[in-house]
């Protein structure tokens, strides 16, 4: 999430809203947001309903997964980045900027 914060201005300039989602409680998200100075929403999927809906819930390990979805203005999934690819948002920034130019 720190990497997203570092790229937030670029993403916002490309008409992109960043939302973090995890199965943490709002309490731990609040503490974490403060610690790493995150200014975009960190959403609490307490219970994991949304994580399951997106097919990211690992039944065996009872955890979610590190994935980025880029959702376009029509609500369609435009890009998916999994696991380690999802940590560095550079590619996401490039693709948002490209989209902005197109529209």
């Amino acid at each position: 999430m720190q990497a997203f914060q570092a790229n937030l201005k670029k993403l916002e300039a490309a008409d992109t809203q960043v939302l973090g989602v995890s199965m943490d409680s709002p309490f731990s998200n609040a503490a974490w947001a403060e610690k790493i100075n995150v200014t975009f929403p960190l959403l609490s999927d307490w219970g994991g309903d949304v994580t399951k809906q997106y097919g990211l819930y690992d039944e065996k390990r009872k955890i979610g997964r590190r994935v980025n979805f880029l959702i376009d203005k029509d609500g369609k999934i435009a890009e998916i980045q999994l696991d380690n690819d999802a940590i560095d948002p550079t590619e996401l920034v490039t693709s948002c900027e490209r989209r902005k130019l197109k529209s």
Binding site: L19, W32, Y54, G64, R65, V67, F69, I71, I77
Partner: protein, 82 residues
């Protein structure tokens, strides 16, 4: 003599170590690889409403429809990298 044995062992480790490590990792991956997400590029993103870290706002995906792209970043736990 002892020194020579140690050197030999070190050489053996340098030679076999990386292979053994790769094999172990590959096995681990095979066993633990979680299933691929069920959603594909081009699918409609499921809508949601979730509470943010301020407790004040519920944020929904449909809030941004027709206005902005949304970079939805699922992370595993707070206080981890990425």
């Amino acid at each position: 003599m002892q020194r020579r044995t140690a050197l030999q062992m070190l050489a053996a480790l340098a030679f076999f170590g990386p292979r053994a490590g790769t094999k172990l990792l590959a096995q681990g991956e095979k066993k633990e690889a979680p299933p691929l997400p069920t959603l594909k590029v081009g699918d409609m993103a499921p809508d949601f409403s979730l509470r943010d870290q301020t407790f004040k706002n519920m944020v929904s995906l449909h809030d941004f429809k027709g206005k902005k792209n949304v970079a939805l970043a699922f992370y595993i736990f707070a206080f981890t990298g990425g």
